[in-house]
């Protein structure tokens, strides 16, 4: 797997941006080398023939047990907002989302 992938600072930075992580230059450098090690290590899975194997996503054999469409009591607004970094008039407040027009 890892053989085809070029792990470099550009890739690490692209991933960091997708993950909303603001990496320092030092962190980026360290990640490049650790990425290589780890991807190299997991490439051992290439040895395993999985041609006719279906993936096992779940840990239990259960199937979905939906609930009835019944209204339950909601949580008081102030309990929810108690954890909010900023709130006003019962809204959660954040710096303005940038909108291009």
């Amino acid at each position: 797997m890892s053989s085809e992938i070029r792990v470099d600072e550009k890739l690490v930075q692209e991933i960091a941006s997708l993950a909303r992580l603001d990496l320092t230059e030092d962190e980026t450098r360290v990640f490049v080398s650790q990425f290589k090690d780890i991807l190299d290590y997991v490439s051992i899975l290439n040895e395993v023939d999985t041609e006719n194997v279906s993936p096992a996503y779940l840990s239990s054999s259960s199937k979905n047990a939906p609930r009835e469409d019944v209204i339950e009591v909601s949580v008081p607004t102030e309990e929810f907002l108690a954890n909010a970094p900023e709130s006003k008039d019962d809204y959660v407040l954040i710096p303005r989302v940038h909108i291009e027009q």
Partner: protein, 482 residues
């Protein structure tokens, strides 16, 4: 040479499902425009750490209903997936949706176009959850999570649409079906149905696949057609200059009717979908699917056909009546009680009745006037107990204040009179009082006859039978010529 460009359009429709509680928790689904912010929330729909989703059975049922109505293949096993992206109205950092194994695929919807009936293929119908709502003021954005987790149905077409009007026709048809199936309130102004259009253009006659743009936040049929129209023109202009259209996500500004770039909102659409580990696969019982099929109502197309054949209505009248289930039902009930022809009943409903409905903004389902009374009123006019204008007056009275039509006619003294001596008296008076109009009429301005009829109606407070009136007027005028 001026090249012409052919648009290729696909639509994604997001429709809120009419459940009592949210998709993955028991919080009540409310009108997110009028409800106080952050009242209908819990650990699940605000993305508290450790909270888990539990699927709402009713949402599945409603989705299956739509899938069946669109003649889709319903998959007995479908899976939920996480769509990962950052946005402040998305509390978990991912949206629970369906990705490579949706609930339903491969359906179709027929629309009417200028060149006839056209089949629009439905690629997929899947379940997902709505986001919270953002509003903006000055330096801040405000988040309300009441809408977060409301069940949404996403209905995606193949790129089969070729004009803004086709897109509009498809959207309107789908809107009617969703209302028919009682899965969506249809209140477009409340944002319960939202459109996204994928648009590309190519030189007419070619099979080229060019870059497409995705126009978001199209919240009315008008915006939908306008946005697509603008985008077709914009793209055509770019190609005619030799440019290349960039593949991107666009917003639509209702005020200007223009699309605008939303660059930077999400980079590269890399949503990193993977199966949602908190929800086992959704496995449906095929008997259960069949039982839902049995409860499906007659859909607009079938109803239109029946109205044409059973009521002898012309296609456009039938289509008008079947455009909304409550309207179609009301019409059928009135027609069943009335001795007049369905055409007459249609003209009453399409005319004075709809005028009242539109002006008052009332929901047809909330009309209290019984079909029996309406039918009785229509028949009084048809069989000339009262005149047409009097009938309209009575209808408005009935719609506003209720009551018995015969009683109202009697109280208001509206009974039509065809007694010649009574009408003759009025005719003579009108002709005597308006010598100059008589002169003009006799000089050849025959259109004045209708004016004289009106004058007689006024003088008799609408009681005079207009046919008798006309006869006596003509007779009187001819006599004066002599």
């Amino acid at each position: 040479m001026q090249l012409t460009y052919e648009p290729i359009i696909g639509l994604e429709v997001h429709a809120e499902l009419l459940t009592k509680s949210k998709m993955f928790c028991g919080c009540e689904v409310v009108d997110s425009i009028t409800a106080k912010p952050n009242r209908y929330i819990c650990p699940v729909c605000t993305g508290q750490p450790g909270a888990l989703p539990v699927l709402n059975q009713k949402a599945v049922e409603l989705a299956v209903r739509v899938g069946l109505a669109l003649e889709c293949q319903i998959h007995v096993e479908s899976i939920f997936a996480r769509k990962n992206y950052f946005y402040p109205d998305l509390p978990k950092g991912y949206q629970i949706s369906q990705y490579d194994q949706p609930l339903a695929t491969d359906g179709k919807l027929l629309i009417e176009t200028e060149s006839g009936i056209k089949k629009i293929r439905i690629r997929r119908v899947h379940l997902e959850e709505d986001t919270g709502k953002l509003s903006h003021a000055n330096a801040h954005s405000f988040i309300d999570y009441n809408r977060s987790g409301v069940p949404l149905l996403e209905i995606v077409t193949e790129p089969d649409l070729r004009a803004p009007d086709e897109a509009k026709a498809y959207a309107a048809k789908l809107h009617a079906i969703l209302r028919y199936l009682d899965v969506n309130s249809g209140d477009m102004e409340k944002g319960v149905i939202r459109f996204e259009a994928n648009v590309s253009v190519r030189e007419a006659g070619t099979e080229k696949l060019n870059n497409r743009t995705e126009i978001k936040n199209l919240n009315s049929f008008r915006s939908l057609a306008q946005g697509i129209e603008y985008e077709i023109a914009r793209q055509s202009e770019i190609y005619s200059r030799g440019g290349i259209v960039e593949q991107e996500t666009l917003g639509f500004n209702e005020a200007t009717g223009k699309t605008y770039s939303q660059r930077g909102k999400e980079e590269a659409h890399d949503y990193r979908y993977f199966p949602e580990p908190d929800l086992p696969p959704l496995v449906l019982d095929s008997d259960w699917i069949e039982s839902i099929r049995m409860t499906l109502l007659e859909l607009p197309d079938a109803k239109t056909k029946r109205f044409i054949s059973d009521f002898n209505l012309n296609p456009s009248d039938a289509r008008f009546l079947t455009s909304e289930l409550s309207l179609a039902n009301y019409f059928e009930r009135v027609a069943a009680k009335s001795k007049s022809s369905a055409k007459i009943v249609h003209s009453w409903i399409a005319g004075e009745f709809m005028r009242y409905v539109n002006e008052s903004g009332i929901d047809i389902a909330d009309i209290t006037l019984s079909p029996e009374s309406f039918a009785q009123l229509i028949d009084m006019v048809t069989y000339k107990t009262i005149g047409g204008n009097a009938g309209k007056t009575v209808l408005v009275e009935l719609l506003q204040n209720g009551g018995d039509p015969a009683q109202i006619v009697k109280e208001k003294g509206l009974t039509q009179v065809s007694d010649e001596s009574f009408i003759q008296e009025a005719v003579t008076k009108v002709l005597n009082d308006n010598p100059s109009e008589v002169e003009k009429y006799l000089a050849g301005k025959e259109t004045l006859l209708q004016w004289f009829v009106g004058q007689v109606a006024r003088a008799t407070k609408g009681k005079a039978d207009p046919n008798v009136t006309r006869e006596l007027l003509v007779k009187g005028l001819v006599e004066r010529k002599k």
